[in-house]
């Protein structure tokens, strides 16, 4: 690919009508194993993908026009690139906006380069394939121990990505990242009842996958589901733990509204409700939240060394003791709001509380614990949510002894900003893909809509 990149750079630099350019190159290699029920192998997929996106910039006095486009790898010739630039210069005129400058190389410490987000095994795809086979065998071996548990599906998806950002001001950044995604579905059977549980794992390093522990944990969950009942509609104390907690603060499909409103883009669109140094939640009765974006956690998939503009990522305090502190900002919006750009958003770190996890569970009244949602997809702007509960526990305090009864179904429903008015955070912490914070979080007045 470097031949094509050099040609692109040369052609873009030679075009006198341009006031700047940027190239984003992303290459990826996949090595995936897909299994059906009872470990029947369905497919082994290997792939190599390359994407090149070019953005050109044209200045018009106090305005700038930008246009992003991509080209097929096989059509990158000097003539074709020049033709494309001519077309896209017209687009720049249509896309005129308030002027902003392109970033230049930052004079920063090299610390960001020390963050590990790549497993060197990915240098050799044969070794990756071998590692996948080893994990496959380990799952087989470990599931054998449980006579009432059956495998319904197993996928090992691995990807090595290489990202390069180049621009006309001399930005030249490169990042390698590895990603292993394990998806496993197991069923527990007892008498005529059966229930399934799907669990996923996303890590950087093969060595971070502990199959015996993962299987043990999830076999316990699926066995609990065999006895699970449907919940009734209640307003109770609700404790989030495990995957549910990660999903709450760092949902899969969109930003948590707490984070979304700290976006400089949303502020510039006149849609952020946050004001600097003002409370993000009114009438707080419980713990006050402190939330940080940390793009430099070692061995964490949410870590990013730089963003698509070539801005080196920074650790940012978004919220401190319930007061809004700083926006996360891409280059353009940072200039518009006269703040510093922050690079890519990282893992969401929530400052732990003062009481122990054990105390979180100690309540006079019955309370509910949710460990897994079917999907947690809040309205990123209003904060409203309703999420089906995949596995939870009703916890009763019997003279200091806690009795846990599993349940599934029903919906955890409400508004994130209202819910956080009265929250208790544990002092013990957990760390997972995209989340680093309290191990248990208790909402002291929350609603579960029953069936």
């Amino acid at each position: 690919m470097m031949k094509e990149i050099e040609l692109l750079k040369k052609t873009l630099n030679n075009c006198k009508q341009l006031d700047g350019w940027k190239i984003n190159l992303q290459s990826s290699e996949k090595n995936n194993l897909y299994c059906s029920k009872q470990f029947e192998k369905e497919s082994h997929l290997m792939s190599k993908r390359v994407n090149i996106e070019i953005t050109i910039y044209k200045r018009f006095k106090k305005e700038i026009g930008d246009a992003a486009f991509s080209m097929l790898i096989d059509e990158i010739t000097e003539e074709a690139v020049n033709k494309k630039i001519a077309e896209q210069l017209i687009v720049c005129e249509y896309a005129k906006k308030k002027y902003y400058s392109l970033p230049s190389p930052e004079n920063l410490s090299e610390e960001y380069k020390k963050v590990n987000i790549y497993d060197p095994i990915f240098d050799d795809q044969l070794k990756v394939k071998q590692k996948i086979e080893e994990l496959f065998a380990q799952v087989q071996q470990n599931l054998k121990r449980y006579s009432n548990i059956f495998l319904n599906g197993l996928e090992f998806l691995t990807e090595k990505t290489n990202c390069i950002v180049l621009n006309s001001n001399g930005i030249n950044l490169e990042q390698n990242k590895s990603h292993i995604h394990v998806e496993c579905v197991i069923t527990a059977k007892k008498d005529f009842v059966e229930n399934e549980f799907l669990f996923e794992l996303d890590v950087i390093n093969f060595d971070d996958i502990n199959i015996p522990e993962i299987i043990k944990e999830n076999v316990s969950a699926v066995n609990d589901l065999l006895q699970a009942e449907s919940p009734k509609a209640v307003i109770r104390k609700v404790i989030l733990t495990q995957k549910a907690l990660k999903e709450f603060f760092a949902p899969h499909l969109s930003l948590n509204p707490l984070i979304a409103h700290a976006s400089a883009r949303l502020k510039y669109m006149d849609l952020s409700v946050y004001k600097k140094d003002s409370p993000i939640i009114n009438h707080v009765k419980g713990d006050k939240l402190t939330i940080v974006s940390n793009p430099f956690l070692n061995n964490n998939l949410s870590s990013q060394l730089f963003d698509g503009d070539g801005i080196i990522s920074k650790k940012i305090i978004l919220i401190e003791d319930n007061l809004f502190k700083d926006y996360f900002a891409a280059n353009r919006y940072a200039q518009y709001l006269n703040i510093l750009p922050t690079g890519a958003l990282g893992s969401i770190e929530v400052k732990p509380g003062k009481i122990s996890e054990a105390e979180i569970y100690l309540n006079k009244q019955e309370c509910y614990e949710i460990v897994s949602f079917a999907s947690f997809a809040p309205n990123y702007i209003s904060g409203d949510f309703s999420a089906e509960i995949r596995l939870g526990y009703i916890i009763k305090n019997n003279n200091g002894k806690l009795i846990k009864k599993p349940f599934r179904g029903g919906m955890f429903t409400g508004n994130i900003f209202t819910l956080l008015q009265d929250v208790t955070l544990s002092k013990e912490t957990m760390i997972t893909d995209g989340y680093n914070g309290p191990k248990a979080v208790r909402f002291n007045k929350a609603m579960i809509a029953g069936l």
Binding site: L45, K48, A68, A95, K97, N152, L271, S386, A387, E388
Partner: protein, 466 residues
């Protein structure tokens, strides 16, 4: 893409499949080409971009499993190299160890094109930008209470060329979608938004955004600003076609994907051939439905598409299938094998999923509701094929009193329940019928493909809302 280029690719792929079948029981090749033009506007932003990408996927079936290789571009040398890597990755199986694959052996060499009234490439980009700006300005200037309005125009062209021993197929599908999202500060102090999308295969999508539509969008957004949260409970409800469609897709459709059934992950398997709903209930998946977001002519395994009744007259009928799971389940193939791209695996996936129209009249159905809700504009849902639990979220509900819509809205509502119970609670099905969906669907949280969903208005009792 010119016909001679398509023919050249077909001819080359025929040679590659023959090469792979020297060792494989079966092989196929699929070329993917996707291009797009996007315009994104709001009062603070104007973003214009275009994209283009292509790649090839080779598959070899060794009699037990597939071996696949995906690669960017169409470069003959690299494709031959990939074919040789594949050939080295498996051993030839003895005849006795071969599990036959469900492959259609009818020979077809054909090209398909989606039809549009106004070809998107016949309209200048400047015109498209102007149209998009006019929609935004019409909303923002008309209603100062609307804090911002995001308009997105997405135009795409998708080309697929499939070749195996029996098929040489190509298709070109174009689509245009306008998405309108006005944002408003609510009476409760939070920011809320409304969302409406307009789809067509060509630029006629723009013609669907009439002045009345704009006025309706503004009026609805203002009502959302005043909306409350609903008191959780069970209610008599009238479902709009978009809620009907999401129910068909999320709650039932995912459980009728043959790979899910083969894995023992779908409760529907126990119900095949059995009654699950009143006899006036029919649910279909139909990739050959013309001019919809989930339409295509052949699937990613070269199977020509047609409709499949998932539920026929209340009885669980037939799953949608891919070749691997269909052959093991000894089921008929349907044209539903789809992959997100050339570096993704094929799964059995939905396309256009909907309830069939019934006999009732929407106005009469509304009149029959003394106290209830009209449900529309859901934002999404999640499948639960094993438990048949329902999760639909982001619904806007409008209060119905004495057979009339009151204009009183309730925002961000979740619907939950148990699917057979909800299907059994459907009392009436309207003649009025729409398949408006413009979304994408994932398998869990990955493998995204474009789909649509819809159907008639449904009158449903005891709907669990929160």
């Amino acid at each position: 893409m010119q016909k001679n280029k398509i023919d050249e690719i077909k001819q080359f792929f025929a040679e590659i499949t023959a090469l792979l079948e020297q060792k494989a029981v079966y092989a196929d090749c699929l070329y993917y080409y996707d291009s797009s033009q996007e315009i994104g506007l709001d009062k603070a932003n104007k973003e214009i971009s275009s994209g283009k990408g292509d790649g090839v996927k080779l598959r070899a079936y060794d009699g037990a499993q597939f071996h696949e290789y995906g690669i960017t571009g169409f470069n003959k040398e690299k494709i031959i190299e990939a074919a040789n890597i594949l050939l080295q990755s498996f051993d030839k199986k003895d005849a006795g160890l071969i599990f036959p694959l469900a492959i259609d052996t009818q020979k077809i060499n054909k090209h398909f094109e989606s039809e549009s009234e106004i070809a998107a490439d016949s309209i200048d980009l400047s015109q498209k930008i102007e149209d998009t700006e006019n929609i935004m300005n019409a909303i923002l200037k008309k209603e100062p209470a609307i804090a911002n309005c995001r308009i997105r125009y997405d135009e795409s062209t998708e080309i697929r060329i499939f070749v195996n021993k029996y098929k040489q197929l190509s298709q070109r599908i174009q689509s245009c979608i306008f998405i309108i999202s006005p944002y408003i500060k609510s009476d409760h102090g939070d920011i809320r938004y409304h969302y409406k999308a307009f789809f067509a295969n060509g630029y006629e999508a723009k013609q669907k955004i009439s002045k009345k539509e704009i006025i309706d969008i503004i009026s609805f957004t203002k009502k959302i600003a005043k909306a409350d949260k609903i008191i959780p409970g069970r209610y008599l409800c009238l479902f709009s076609p978009d809620v009907t469609g999401l129910l068909a897709h999320e709650s039932f459709g995912h459980g009728m994907e043959s790979d899910t059934i083969y894995k023992g992950r779908a409760k529907a398997q126990e119900y095949l051939g059995k009654s699950i709903a009143p006899d006036y209930i029919n649910i279909l998946d139909n990739p050959s439905f013309p001019k919809r977001n989930g339409s295509f002519f052949f699937d990613d395994e070269g199977f020509i598409t047609s409709s499949t009744y998932l539920i026929k007259e209340g009885i669980v009928n037939h799953p949608i299938t891919d070749s691997f799971s269909a052959s093991r389940l000894k089921m008929l193939r349907s044209g539903n094998a789809r992959a997100e791209s050339y570096d993704h695996k094929v799964y059995a996936r939905m396309s256009n999923t909907y309830f069939a129209a019934g006999k009732s009249n929407k106005v009469d159905m509304l009149k029959n509701i003394k106290d209830g809700f009209f449900l529309h504009y859901p934002s999404g849902g999640m499948e639960d094929p094993k438990g048949w639990g329902i999760q639909v979220q982001g619904i806007v509900a409008e209060k119905i009193k004495d057979g009339r819509l009151t204009g009183e809205l309730f925002y961000e509502i979740g619907m939950t329940g148990y699917l057979p119970e909800l299907l059994g609670n459907i009392q009436e099905v309207s003649q009025e019928f729409e398949v408006p969906g413009t979304g994408i669907c994932g398998k869990g949280h990955k493998e995204w493909v474009r789909v649509s969903e819809g159907g008639p208005y449904l009158l449903v009792k005891d709907v669990n809302l929160s």
